[in-house]
Every structure is written in C-alpha cells, then in structure tokens.
Symmetry: C2
Subunit: 455 residues, 2 copies
C-alpha cells in the first residue's frame, strides 16, 4: 500500500536522478525510478533536458517508457519524438493503446508518421492507428480508442469470458462489454458485474442492457465531456453513421479535455498567449504576455486620441477628466459579466434556451435596471457628496447609464458572434474586446458631455 | 440502443408534461417520462414549479425518483426537501448511495436531518450517513461513499464473488475490489477483470496489486480531482489515520467537483454573485450583478477624488487626461495576467515550485522587461507620432513602467495572500482587486507627472 508520495518528487530526488544520468549509471536510474508512478516519472522528466529524458527512456522497460512518454507535457513530448528514431518510437507505440499512440503521432509531420507506423510490429494496431488518424482533432473519433471488449448477442457468458481473456493484455480497463449483432451494430452493454454473477451458459442476449448511450464519431469533445459528466458515465461507445461500434471513449481522456478547455478559457480571458507556466523562463513569460499587453497599449493610445479631440471642452470642464476611470472601469466590468454569462450558457447548450429575441430583450432589461441604479448612485454622489452642479451630475449619470447599456449589448453579442465564426467565445472577456469597449465608452462619455454641457 | 435524444427535451415536451400535471393525469406523466434518463428528467423538472416537481416525484417509482432528486439543480433540491415530509424523504434516501444521501441531507437544518435519518429503513445505511455527515464539506470524507466491495486477503475468488453477489444491489459500479487484512487496513486492490479470469480457488493474496493509491479523509476535494486526473483513476479508496479503509471516491463525483470549481472561479473573476444563469429572471440577474458593479462604481468615485486632487496640474497640462485610460487599462491587464498565472500554479501545486524569493525575483524581472518595452512604445508614440514634448513622453512612459511593476507585484501577492487566508485566489482577478489596482495606478501616474513636470 502506498500513499501519494509527493515528498518523493523533491528537488533532491531530481538532482540525484540528474547525477545518475550524467554518470550514465543505468542501474542507479532504474533503481531510483522503481515503484514510482508513470505520471510522477513524467513530472520529473519534464524538468530535464531532452537528451537526458531520452537517455532515461532508453534504459527503462518499453512498456513503462511508453506510459511515461504519454504522461510527459506536450512540449517535452514534441521535442522527444523529433529526436527519436522511427524504429525506436514504433517500439514504444506498440505498447500503447491506440488513442495514446495517435496523440504521440500527431506531434510528427505526416511523412514521419507513416515511417513510424510502417515499423509497428502489431499490424492490427497499425490499422487502428491509421483509422484514428483520419478523424478530425477534437472529435469523438480522435478521442476514442480501438481497444474495448465486444460480445455478440448470441454468445454465452463463457464465450464472453474467453474473449475477455484473449483481449486482457490489450484492454487495460474494461468497465463494460459492448453487445453487437452480426453486422457489428451496437445493441447495448453488459456490466462486468453481471458477467461475474451470471452462470456459464447464460446467453448475453438475456442479460444485456439495451438502453445505453452512444455518440457519433463527429461529436465535439467538449460536448462529450458534458455528456459523461451529466450522465455519470465512465466510458462511452462511439458509432459510425451506420451505427457500427467503432471505438470507446473513457473518462480519463475526458478529464484531460476538461482541464485543457479550462486552461484555454483562462488564457483567452487573461490574454496570455502560448501555454506558459509560472516556472518557465523570464524571457518566455515576458514574450507570452507582451502581445496582449501591446493590444491594450494600442487601445489606450487610441483612447488618448479620442480624449484629445475633446481637449477644448475638457479644459473648460476639468472635472470631466476625474470620471474617466469610472466610465471605462464600469464599462469593462459590465462587459465581462455579460460575456461570461453568455459563454456559460453557450457551454451548457441548454435545450430550454430562450429565443434570440427574448434573450436580447432580457439583456436590455437587466442593463436598463442596472444602468438606472448605477446612474442614480453616481448622480447622487457627484451632486450631493462631491458638490458639483446638477447639470454635471446628469452628464456623468446619464453617460454611465449609456455605457452600461452599450457594454451589456457588446458583451452579449461578441461571444455569440465569436462562437458562430468558430472562435473560442471566452475571448470576448479578453483584452481585445475589453479594449474596444473602453474606447466606445470614452466616446459615449464625451459625446454625452459635449451635448449636455454645450461645449 | 439509444442515441442521446436531446430533441425529446423540447419546450413542447415540457408543456405536455405540465398539462399532464395540471390534469393530475398520473398515467400520462409516467408514460411520458418512461425511458428518459434521470438527468434529463431532472433538467425538465428544473423548469417547473416546486409543487409540480413534488407531484411528479410522488408518482414515480422510489428508485427512479431518488435518482432524479440527486440530479436536480441545487435550488430545486433545496426547495423540494424543505417541502417534503421526513418519512417521504427517508424512503428516497433509502434507495441512494450514502454520498448522494448526504448531499441531500446537507440541504436541511441539523434538526430535520436527524428526523429524516430516524425514518430510514436500512439501519446500516443510517450509520454510514451519520458517519459521512461528520466530515467537513469539501474533504475526501464528505465526497466518498460507503458503498464499495472489499475482500479479505485470505479469501478465494469464489468467496469474493459471493461478496460481490451480496453487495450487488448496493454498489452500482464496482471498478475494483479493495483488499484488506483482518484489521480492515487497506492493502491493495484486485481488478474485476482478474476476478473473472481467476480460477475459483485462487487466493486473493496471490492476485492482488499492492501498489495502489489512497487518500486520507481530510484531503481537499480539488486535490483529489487533480490526483484522479493525473493518475487516470476511476475510483480512489479513502483511509483514516490508522490506514483503515473507510470509503471510496468515484470519478463521477470528481467531474462535478471540477465543474463547480470552474464555475466558482468564473464567478470570482467576473464578479457575478450567486449561482445565476442566463435563463433566470431579469430581477435575479440584475441583483446578482449589482453588488460587484457597485464596488467598481465606488472605486471609480474614489478615483475621481484622486484625480480631483491634481485638478490644478491637470488644467495646466490637459494632455495628462488623455492617457488616464491607457494607465488604468494596462494596470488592469498586467494585474489579471499576473494573478491568473499564480492561480494556475496554486491549483497545480507543483512540487517543483520555486522558492518564494526566486518567484518574486522572476516576477520582478518579467515586469521590468515588459515595463521597458511598453514604456518605450508609449514614449515613442507620444513623442514622435502624437508630437508631444519629450518631457511629457517621459512622464507617460515612466508612469506606465511604474504601473506595470506595481500591478505585477499586486497581481502576484494578492492571490497568494487570499489563498493563505482561505479565500478562493481567483478572486484576485475579480472587480474588487482590479478596482484597487486602478486607484493605485492613477495615484502613481499623477505623482510621477507632478514630480517630473513640476506641477
């Protein structure tokens, strides 16, 4: 029995591993990694240079090395597969399930992929891999594995157990046995529990569950994640257009999809390009952050131009400058709130979604309500607490009201439009759109001021 | 075989269900819901009034009604359990796994909980539920279920199958059989696959895997989600301080944890309080959004005060006003980038995290680098494109540089501090902190201007 030995993955452990590699102490490397989980070994190796990683993988047993390769982060994986010989990589792919092998092959250019596949020992697996490579990334077809257990409707429990025995090496986690007819059409499933409790001659057709879910090969991986969460599934069969069972998606793949999606959304919202982590180099971190900051700077410089246009009016009414941050910040906050509500409902894809017309009517109503409350609060403060003229209070209050309306509208429309044209709608909460909102807000503020104050 | 019949969940379906409820057409309700998945029935019922939901649950079979109750959204669940009689609720809890029953009981006040528990038919389950209620929400103990299969080290495969048969009703999904010694200490696990392939008299001790992971009852649910994702686990045994096996966490529970966490983070970042959706009422949506917007307004009004202090200088140098949005927006963008990087690395809890000192040195370096680039771009544009004095360009460029440094620092420190005092660090990217950053940025900008321009 082993608790999670996080303490094992210390800097000291890493240093001792590095030392073993430098001394080419093969026994030392093997010993120090023995009993450590694949994912933990991968975390260790992610901290090393590519040549070091390669050295370690070469001294490990193929099966273990394959599992470690799957768990490495994408950057290490990419560098590694470019460095490896086709024969060498093929040996590792031979011990992987087909979906993992495909993930690795996606890191290679098409020509190299074919070379690696030609070196695979198991011809059946090579066929599976070539089939999976044809599906579009992010679809059920690309996410599924070809390893699963299926039983014919007319088999007995004993025949099914024989099939499990035959496939036991290939299918790591069984969960359910899928039931098919003679044409390989998916009919249902039998839980492993029922196979254990059934008697030898029980027919599969007498114990299987007809009422199961399946998804088509083209379904989007995020939709699949939501289905598996909603219906508490640990595996989901995938069928082609003719309802033929072609693969199986397991929950561990979906957990990775969910995590990647969350990271992507976070990056879209915060405008950090590239897949960076706090532990990356100063230069890399800086580079990943600059592009978006420059967009913000560009917007700010445009904003300066807009305000510059109103410089004459501004000199007459210097208090106008004081409320610039109030206007832009509120516009930003309202915009982000609106867009994240839309992003959330786009993700949930509720079947009870209201019509577009009703939704906009509602967005407008909420905006009017909030705009009135916020406008009134600001008017009151500007006039009664800060002691400005009533006319000036009306300007700030009304401008704020208009900005709330405008930002709500933009915040609602932008993610819907982005989603329609195939861009991650979470971008709508990112710096690009926020900057555009700032500029609109400034223009509205000064136009309202110019009109109401006759400047 | 059934595809996902989303089309079934149409508005028309909902209306016909409503009509059946109004006519008290019990057969009609049963017929229309037959063959629909629990989660889908729950989605339908979430759209109805509480009295209608109660009516439907009462005409469904207990087991199905219990599954539907588990899947309802929290709001409907809460209202429903307040309305139900203790006896009635106890009947439904009797058909749930212990962890689901506990989730429902958490919606009741302690007194009512005890009343419901006293009405449970299965005394063993009542004991389990009382045990689970003692664990803190959000811990492994609160997430785990008491339903799982365990086998003694000295049992044979046949004895183990008998145990599976005995428990088959209670444990919906088995995954693995946990192996314990006579003191109930967790020793390892046997995959169901091995039970099927083993011969009747094989001893468990000869086929079990020793090397398995377990977590203590007090571990945080988010950490558990990360472990299950990292190590591709579909179930995780939970042990107490004496290594006694006390429960099991399954991956479906963890999927819900991940989703809730993502929603919480989103809400913390966007400042939408409460658990609202786009389909909620105008008044509810408005109310959920106002508090955070008011914080922003309050910040904006404080900002107006700060700028007001520098009104004299501002009238002499009216161009200063033009660059206010540039300063506040850049401060905001830098702050959000910094804090989300920290939040990300807090969530990952990398064991290779660098020391606090090194991390701050790095943050500082990245900020200096970005600050120099951005400051230079702005200086160049202000002087050479917009044709301002060099002195003024230095003011804006240097103020921007300072704001980038300050916002990086605040964006890094705030989530760390929030995390330490037990607040969701994602709040650091929310309106409260962003507003504070705006104010700091403004102060820095005007102080730099006053000093350098001798105003």
């Amino acid at each position: 029995m082993e608790k999670i030995k996080e303490f094992e993955l210390s800097r000291e452990y890493l240093e001792s591993l590095k030392a073993s590699i430098e001394e080419e102490n093969i026994e030392g490397i093997r010993e120090s990694l023995e009993g450590t989980k694949e994912a933990d070994v991968a975390s260790l190796l992610d901290e090393l240079e590519i040549e070091e990683v390669l050295f370690v993988l070469r001294v490990l047993e193929h099966e273990f090395a394959a599992d470690v390769l799957i768990e490495l982060d994408e950057e290490s994986q990419f560098k590694l597969v470019q460095e490896m010989e086709s024969e060498e990589l093929a040996v590792l792919l031979d011990s992987m399930e087909s979906d993992d092998a495909v993930d690795i092959l996606h890191q290679l250019v098409v020509k190299d992929r074919e070379d690696v596949i030609s070196h695979l020992q198991e011809r059946e697996k090579a066929g599976h891999i070539m089939e999976l490579l044809r599906y579009e990334e992010g679809s059920a077809g690309a996410l599924m594995a070809k390893e699963f257990i299926k039983a014919n409707l007319n088999w007995t429990v004993v025949q099914t157990i024989d099939e499990i025995r035959r496939q036991a090496e290939n299918v790591e986690k069984i969960y359910s046995i899928y039931v098919v007819d003679n044409k390989e059409s998916l009919l249902g499933r039998v839980a492993l529990k029922k196979i254990i409790l059934g008697s030898a001659n029980t027919k599969i057709k007498d114990i299987y569950e007809e009422d199961i879910m399946s998804v088509p090969t083209y379904m989007d991986e995020e939709e699949i994640a939501e289905i598996m969460r909603k219906y508490d599934l640990e595996a989901l069969p995938v069928v082609n257009a003719k309802n033929k069972l072609v693969g199986r998606i397991t929950v561990d793949d979906v957990l990775d999809v969910i995590r990647e999606q969350a990271e992507e959304d976070m990056q879209a919202m915060t405008g950090i390009s590239d897949d960076v982590e706090e532990s990356d180099s100063v230069f890399r971190l800086s580079k990943a952050r600059l592009p978006w900051l420059l967009i913000g700077i560009f917007g700010g410089l445009m904003g300066a131009k807009i305000i510059g246009v109103f410089n004459d009016g501004l000199s007459k009414y210097i208090q106008l400058a004081s409320f610039i941050p109030l206007i832009t910040a509120t516009g930003g906050n309202v915009g982000i709130q609106s867009s994240s509500l839309v992003v959330q409902s786009l993700a949930a894809k509720s079947v009870f979604a209201e019509s577009i017309g009703r939704r906009f009517a509602k967005v407008l109503l909420v905006a009017v309500l909030n705009g009135i409350v916020l406008g009134a609060v600001v008017f009151g403060t500007v006039v009664f607490v800060y002691g400005n003229e009533v006319k000036f209070g009306i300007v700030v209050g009304f401008a704020l009201f208009s900005v709330v309306l405008l930002a709500s509208f933009m915040g609602t429309v932008t993610p819907i439009v982005l989603d329609k044209i195939g861009i991650n709608p979470a971008m709508a909460s990112g710096p690009f759109i926020t900057t555009a909102n700032d500029l609109l807000g400034l223009a509205v503020y000064f136009l309202v001021a110019m009109m109401l104050l006759n400047l």
